[in-house]
Amino acid sequence: MKGRKQDPVSRTPDHRANRIVLTRTLILLAVFGVAAFLPLFGRLYAIQIRDHDMYEQKAIDQQTMDNSVAANRGKITDANGKVLAVSATVYDIIVSPKDFASVQKNWDKKYASAPEKATYARPEAGDVAAGLSEILGVDTEKLLKSLSKDSYYEVAAKRVEKETADQVRQFVLDHHLSNSVYLSPTTKRYYPCGSLASQVIGWVNPNLENTGAYGMEALYEEELAGQTGRVVTAKKGDGTEMKYSFQDYYDATDGNNLGLTLDSTIQYYCERILEKGIEMFDVRNGGFAIAMNPKTGEILAWANSPTYDLNSPWTVTDPVLNQYLETVKNDPSAGEEAYAAALSQMQNQQWRNKAINDTYEPGSTFKSVVLAAALEEGAVNENSHFYCPGYAVVADRRISCSKKAPGHGDQNLAQAVANSCNPAFIAIGQKLGAEKFYNYLEDFGFLGPTGIDMQGESQLSPVPNLIWPRDKFTSANGITNLATASFGQGLQVTPIQLITAASAVINGGHLMQPYVMKSITDPEGNVVRQNQPTEVRQVVSAETSQRCRTILEGVVNGGTGKRAYVPGYRIGGKTGSSETLDSRRGIDHTIVSFLGFAPADDPQVVILLMYDNPKPVSAGSNFTAKGYYISGGNMAALMAGELLSNILDYMGVEKNYTETEKSMVDVTVPNLVGQTAQVGRESATGAGFTVRMVGEGDTVTAQIPVGGASIPSGSEVVLYLGAEKPTDLVTVPDVRGKTAAQAREILSQHGLYLKVGGSSSYMSANAVAASQSINVGTSVERGTVVECLFADNTMVD
């Protein structure tokens, strides 16, 4: 401070003031330089170290885009590779009203000042709605409403097929709509066979991200669906993808293909026969038909009624169900809600897999199992005799036979089975004993699940309240239970349990685990999984099984199941007419069924056909309006004969006719016109016809019947050698009520031919013509074939 002129104040330095400045500055240093920053370090530590993971996870969640890549769902095919379910790409049509507004704004920006320069018209909501409405078939008003919303995403149409989608794409291009209308790809499941095997195949629910809702689609969901892929990309705050940043791919794995044991053709036969029977017999509660390979347990066909089209599972198509819906609709007291409830109820009914979801009292079909058990245990043999007075008394309870007094009288075992005689089976059950009887219930698999790969089988073992517990059954009081169980009443089984057990009876005694999935293959066709026949256990010996087959063949060969007889095929089986809880309460409700197998010596197919509740003509009547006697033998067996005949023909099983059958077999008449007399005679005789020549020429000039007609072998063929063929008409006689032999004779006298309709056992003396294809009194040409349907209404089972 030398040489500087000091002012008076600083010459007397205020030491106290300086000290204050010094200390206060030090305080500021301590506060702003140190103290203030300590909590900030603490804060950084808390966020960056302590809560690091939480914040990092949240940051990553918002920084990445997770786009899913749809996997293609696998196909479902039948045993022959016929496609039953397949997926295809379809498109959802999305409109973005906000983008539409900016599309309009852009046009305005460009052209509003000079509309004459515009290369295209200003996109207007009305035009777009009208255009899309035309392509998509959606209401214009609805589209207009969507377009006026304040959003980026409004669904205009769902699951539109490629052709329509292409039209939309073109429409968007033509009208310069850019991203205000766009397509979002998704998949749709197609079922090329419509309603075929609906309850088995099931369907995928588009409302639940295309996951399987029922049947195989649901059961094998994981296999079929494949693995949805993911693309994880870094994204910016505005939602756009971050370029040159990380990207993780998780490839989508397409679903595997599912090969079923079902055979579409057999399935079709089963469904057709089911429908036919329901129509013929006025069946009220539907029914089912299962066909199975008895040796392997493979399910060949599995038909339920009512059924539905897999392509529109919510639509009710079954006539019986629809009729019910109509009643609700027309009922003035039932409102919208009642209808919705009814609709949902009907939908559930058609989706229901009756043949596995429902249990029923198997009735006489169950006798096949009792027979096997009794033979195996030696309780009875082919020489055992049973006397039937038309009823049996068990513990003071009188149980009547289907044939009322005087009953079946004395019968051997085969006759008792053929007659489906209840008193005889009560005796058989008692000889077997409750203890052993119950063992066989277990061994034949009636107390647990069959293990079939199908939805809806109870996994409980035993399922409560379906079959008596062992201690109750074997107790002294259980004697009536044993009695009813012996003819298949009082116990509840599932259809699949019964057909599986019946297979064991006839296939050599092996209880097979039934299955529907044959193989699973990956998209390249490599087999991933394969189902092999699985034997659960041997229940009866091969010898017992063979004896059962013989006895059961007798049921069709003249027994209660004779309507299932098909000339040329050896068919065995057992009829059943089950009582139900309803019928015991006095309400008409009978379940008619037929358990059949063929060929009897080496069964290749076993079927179980059931119709639930044919409607009697009047309350309490045993006949339907169309005159059918309500019983398994008259209904189910009749249909089963036709079904088995179809299946065996399809399977290529060779026919072997007996001599009598041969005379009745229809043979096609060869066309012999233009042949020499010699050749004509030889050809006709060779085909199994008798020949009558009319005229003197060398060449056949006409013939009766004409070539191509199908008439019974052994019939007379008339060949005209130059002589005039009579052209007069003959009148069709009445052959109704006549047996086949009588009818043939009468028709032949009129120059007409008989063709036996159906596949029923028309050889039976009891079978009489119920109807004829050409009405009585009609004038027809000579040689016309008249087809008659024969029925035997005297049978009961």
């Binding site: 370090f41 960056q48 920084q63 994204k235």
Partner: protein, 400 residues
Amino acid sequence: MPKLKRDLTMEEQLARGPMDLPFLMLVVLLTGIGVIMVFSASYATALNEGHAATYYFIRQGIFAAAGLGLLYVTSKINYQSFRWMSVFVLGFALVLLVLVLVPGIHTNRSDGVKRWIRSIGPIPAFQPSEFAKLGVILYFSARMSKRGSEKKKKFNTRTLSGTLLQKADGWGFTELVPYGVILLVIMLLMKLEPHMSGTILILIPAAAILFAGGVRLGWFALGGAAVGGLLALTMTGYQSTRILVWKDPWAYPKDGGYQIIQSLYAIGSGGLFGVGFGQSRQKQLFIPEPENDFIFSIVCEELGLIGAGLILLLFVMLIVRGYWIALHARDRFGSLLAVGVTTLMAAQVFLNISVVTNFLPTTGISLPFFSYGGTALMIQLIEMGIVLAVSRQIPAPKQG
């Protein structure tokens, strides 16, 4: 031709003393790191806005270079001349604060806030409040340093008013009146913008200067209570929402909470070592204007606790050195200048980091040397230059 040393006046000689190198090095270091971080934080925004990736970086770099030049020039000035300049700076700042309220001069913002004077010709847009800070620091320091030299006023104690005035003067009230009036005028003008954070950043260094200058402590209690009361009164609507957002930002992901949530995500994902320089993902349009007030969260994300902690430490060292210069300054004016500038910077750093870490409710306070903003950076560097000018005149320690 430079003057010979013997021809220089005493002041001129002193002004040629050595700058405080540690302080200078810290300033240069922080400015350098700051500009680089602006590059990292801004390029995504720049690209998104259709600029080149280096758009903000180059502009900030130019301002930093110019600012360092101004720093040097300022540091060469004999700071005693700031005494007379201070009046004009403050007056100029007040004029600007009035002008900014005039439509057509301030920038047009959608929210109607008038904080910026728009760019006119070559002059970039700037906030007059930055000048006000400087003006207040300069003027208050200058006035406060003369405190001890002022004559005691005499009042006529025979009148009542005279007695009261005598009493007030005894309590040290009268000397505070000019400071109070200036602050009130500034607060009023800035309330009209409105600009609360700017007001706080003027009040804090002003209070620090008065505090260091020796004003009775009781007045601070009174002033603090008054400002607190005013704050409480203005806590209506918009302001009180801030408190709610601060308490639970996730409850307000749309209104106000968004920024703070994104900031926390950025800081949190940094962890100990950070995701690496330039690797921030939160700057990819998640944090709005990441080169601005929230640049420190990008620093935390990219450089981790270690990097952010080091930068924080550099700030602490700079602040401590600033007070150190104040303690060693040649005279009280120098001390108070250093105290004012240092406290201003400390407050700004503290408040900015408190906001990005959600330690305090959100206010728009930028981070010195880091946040993008040319004029602010230049003025900050000029302020640092003032401290350096003070440091030049620190008497050399006696030898031996």
